[in-house]
Amino acid sequence: MRIRRLVAASAAAASLASVLFAFQFGRRGRFAEEDVPVPPDADEKTEWVFGRLRYSSFRGGSGSWGVRGSWSTDYPKAERQFVQGVRRLTRLHTRSMEQVVDLDSDEIFNWPWIYGVEVGHWDLSDAQAAKLREYLLRGGFLMVDDFHGSIEWEIFTASLSRVFPDRPVTDLTERDHIFHVLYDIDQKVQVPGIVMFYTGRTFEQDGVEPRWSAVTDDKGRVMVAICHNMDLGDSWEHADEPRYPEQYTSLGYRIGINYILYAMTH
């Protein structure tokens, strides 16, 4: 009996430890929230806030936040560095602290601009897809980034098709307003993640060509801005990394700012 209790306790402890481990570390390693100090003006009430979409991970099973998924990649350093750039380069009244939102409550409607990362791993339930559809049709804006290759595209579009069964993904052209709201981004290149340090390549998996695409509303306004085969989040997160090329950071910031301003003007 005593041995059985010991085994059960050990099993419970092991389960708890594994859950905590999973919560602390993402796909690419340790969750870095504790390394990034909370800004002193984190509670400031501002016009615009970087909303980070927390979604159910394909690997973690739908509807469960218990197992840490890919939504938190680069979190929170990417956005906290990025919003400093937004503050410096635009007149947008910007909060220094991001807002994590999910699709399980109506809270998301208070944050009209959200960023979804690693959406090649998301797995939206029908209810979540419906909420995202409503959010976007009301005027919300979703920027998705940092997913690569054909397999992740398939996973991404599987959920996206539940959001908009009737709306195709269309490629953006250089003439689209979204590339000219503030910066005229005529020459776009693939913005790599830091995996480039190890592989020496700017692409991941079979995602050789960067793809700039979108889902638009009935008037042709971008609702979902899709950055496939690139990692703008890393360009923000590692802007202070000497090894990360400045040209990618610069482009990453410009694209991010254009997407924000587009969302607030169209």
């Binding site: 009430k45 007149r91 947008l92 009209p112 005027g139 301003l261 003007t265 169209h266």
Partner: protein
């Protein structure tokens, strides 16, 4: 009874002069009365019989005797009344019979015209003919001679008594007209007889006797008396009409206000009728339809057993314009409301929004511009450039962003150009933007606090104050109660800005109720010069879009209504109009044009012409001369000969420079006016007769007119004196005095 006692009608006493015909001086009469009184007093004192009674009774008997003797003495002096009277057979009496459509109204089984015929043929006409030459006229908007009463048709489209009487007097100017007799219901379509016309008629010194026909009050009737409605509307705009009506016999009952165009119901609203005889005004919202002239019919319906159903509806003309006014929106920083406001106007086919957004310190993002050159240097630097727009929205931009010249242009944009300016709340808007200390503070409808930090990113709900309940700007639902509830139920605003109280003349249409404390004007408007200025002290309506269902149109409806108000009344350089777009049984139309240059200064040396397209397709061009009393205004009175719709295109040029053109419509409708106000207007008829020395009669006593009409100072008259001594009342008075003395003596035992 009066005539029985006093021998003559009361009218003679009113007009006549009291005289003594004996030729003896009046002082002798007074002396004789005094002597008689003294003698009687002496007799009473010495009389042994009377001496037995008390002093008071002796005084009473003496007073009765004195009165009797005095009366007899007065009769000896032969009192009389000196009056002027018409010479028999030498004077003309003009009989004017109202021949308008309202006289065809049936009451008690016969029309008013029938009643007038009966009154004349039942002896009055004969009696008048015995003494005078009688001329018969039918009257409506003018007069025409008729041979006899069978020629009356009750077909004249309107009644204009002043015009008719003046025409009758004028026509008979060479004749000895002794009096005018007017048979009418007094239902005048010109709104009564104005003071000037009354003065003109009175100056002729011809007494006008009136005989009134028709019920003075219907037991059950509702009448639509007025509709206030803008003459122009933007394409797709909703209009608010103020419908005024009165009723009797339906107090507290329900009726429907219905708006139609070309047979199609545009709006319908249930109203609860207020007190009998009271005037009630209700607003009704509707969309007038596609561009072009639209005839809109308003009606009060659903009332049972009305005595007159022809006065329940009126028509108005609205010109729905196809042009899209342009609004310039300057925003100082990216804001969610900027995006959602743009989206709301994107859905509005009637307005074009051009926006300038300061995205960075050095960059302005332009949207909606006509070409790459438009506004390439940012906010317009000259009045001409700014005045090309019809509306202006100033978002979160500090006042110091504008140069003093630009601030003056903005002020003139409202004041002189007649545009609409809307200020929005924001981090650098209103007081936080320093507008309280700028020259633009003058045009704001609210006073601004002299402090910063008035912009709060705190939640605030909204309430509609009384002053906003009837406004088209705040109407989310046609029912005022449901409208107020809708505003209360809206998601809270993301932010609000504290502003001071509304200025005199300004309207607060919405209040912000912060969850923390207080209440502040949220939406306030006022007219400024020729234009309009509004303040919307928030930048947080985006939550209405994000927190309400994607199909909900509240946000778009509000902004579209607000921006249409902003530009709906903005005139162009040439602005043409007429005071009455619907001429009800009238021909005269006043054409008016306000002409301005590019800076919207009045132009007084322009050549202005109106090309009028008549209903039959013919066109006429008339020059509009400068109105010497109004700067830059050109006016001309024209006669619309045919009923139907007219189109007027007014163009103006100065030398070789084209100043612009404007188009409006008007419509002449016949046979409408007589449906309204058909109760007998006894007040008008009485006043007319009293002012001219005549008398008002009812048909039942109209025969007296034949006697009384003789006493007139107009025409050929003779002065005659009528004896008063033979009045029965004198005889009765003497008898009463004698009898009273005798009875008192018997009672007191002094006989």
């Amino acid at each position: 009874m009066f005539e029985f006692l006093f021998q003559y009608p009361a009218r003679i006493f009113a007009k006549g002069e009291f005289v003594f015909q004996s030729g003896l001086p009046v002082w002798i009469l007074i002396a004789a009365i005094v002597l008689a009184a003294a003698g009687l007093l002496l007799l009473n004192v010495r009389s042994s019989g009377v001496g037995r009674v008390s002093r008071g009774r002796r005084v009473a008997i003496w007073a009765l005797q004195t009165a009797m003797v005095s009366l007899l003495l007065v009769m000896l002096w032969q009192p009389g009344l000196r009056v002027s009277s018409l010479k028999p057979q030498q004077n003309v009496v003009a009989v004017l019979i109202d021949d308008s459509k309202s006289m065809a109204y049936q009451e008690d089984g016969k029309s008013r015209t029938d009643a007038a015929r009966e009154t004349l043929t039942a002896g009055l006409l004969d009696k008048l003919s015995d003494k005078f030459q009688v001329r018969l006229y039918s009257t409506g908007s003018g007069v025409s001679r008729i041979a006899n009463v069978t020629q009356l048709t009750s077909a004249q489209p309107s009644t204009q008594l002043a015009t008719s009487l003046k025409e009758a007097i004028s026509e008979a100017a060479t004749l000895p007209v002794g009096a005018i007799v007017l048979l009418s219901d007094g239902a005048d379509n010109a709104g009564g007889i104005d003071l000037e016309s009354m003065s003109d008629i009175r100056r002729q010194r011809i007494p006008i006797h009136t005989i009134g026909f028709g019920k003075e009050k219907f037991a059950k009737d509702a009448e639509l008396t007025n509709v206030d409605l803008p003459a122009r509307a933007l394409n797709g705009a909703r209009l608010a009409a103020q419908v005024t009506f009165r009723q009797r016999g339906y107090e507290k009952q329900k009726a429907r206000l219905v708006v139609r165009s070309e047979g199609k119901v545009l709006a319908s609203r249930e109203v609860t009728l207020k007190n009998d005889d009271g005037t009630q005004t209700e607003s009704v919202l509707f969309s007038p339809g596609t561009p072009g002239p639209r005839t809109i019919e308003f009606a009060v319906e659903g009332l049972a057993a009305e005595e007159n159903q022809n006065n329940n509806g009126v028509r108005r003309l609205v010109t729905v314009e196809s042009k899209k006014p342009r609004i310039l929106y300057l925003e100082g920083e990216p804001r969610w409301d900027f995006k959602f406001l743009r989206r709301a106007i994107d859905d509005d086919a009637s307005i074009e929004l051009v926006s300038l957004l300061r995205t960075t310190q050095n960059r302005i993002y332009r949207q909606g511009v006509a070409g790459p050159k438009e506004l390439e240097n940012g906010f317009p630097g000259t009045p001409e450039e700014l005045f090309a727009f019809q509306g202006l929205i100033i978002g979160g931009v500090e006042a110091s962003y504008f140069t003093p010249a630009q601030q003056e242009s903005i002020r003139l944009f409202a004041d002189r150009r007649g545009g609409g300016v809307l200020f929005l709340g924001g981090r650098t808007g209103l007081a936080d933007g320093g507008y309280n200390a700028s020259q633009l503070a003058e045009i704001l409808p609210v006073s601004l606090p002299d402090r910063k930090n008035t912009f709060k990113r705190e939640p605030a709900t909204i309430e509609v104050p009384q002053s906003g309940r009837e406004s088209v700007l705040t109407r989310l639902d046609d029912s005022p109660a449901r409208n107020a509830e809708k505003w209360k139920a809206l998601p809270y605003l993301a932010n609000y800005q504290e502003v001071g109280a509304a200025k005199p003349g300004a309207l607060v249409l919405l209040d912000a109720i912060p969850t923390s404390k207080g209440r502040f004007p949220l939406l306030a408007t006022q007219n400024f010069g020729r234009g309009r200025v509004g303040v919307f002290a928030s930048g947080g309506t985006w939550r209405w879009r994000m927190l309400l269902d994607q199909r909900d149109t509240t946000h778009a409806t509000f902004w579209q209504q607000l921006l249409r108000w902003q530009v709906g009344g903005t005139p162009d350089q040439v602005s043409a109009s007429t005071p009455n777009q619907v001429l009800s049984d009238r021909k005269d139309v006043s054409l008016r044009a306000d002409v301005r240059d590019k800076k919207y200064n009045p132009v007084s040396d322009a050549i202005v012409e109106a090309r009028i397209l008549a209903p039959d397709g013919s066109s006429t061009t008339v020059p509009l001369p400068l109105d010497p009393l109004a700067e830059g205004v050109y006016a001309f009175d024209w006669t619309a000969d045919k009923p139907g719709s007219y189109l007027v295109e007014v163009s103006a040029r100065r030398g070789q420079t084209d100043l612009g053109k404007d188009v409006f419509n008007f419509r002449r409708e016949d046979g409408v006016a007589e449906n309204f106000g058909i109760e007998q207007n006894r007040d008008l008829l009485t006043k007319l007769s009293e002012e001219t020395g005549g008398t008002y009669y009812q048909p039942s006593n109209a025969l007296k007119l034949a006697e009384e009409i003789s006493f007139s100072e107009a025409g050929l008259t003779v002065r005659e004196t009528r004896d008063l001594w033979s009045m029965p009342v004198i005889f009765f008075l003497l008898l009463a005095l004698c009898a009273a003395e005798w009875l008192l003596r018997r009672r007191w035992g002094v006989v």
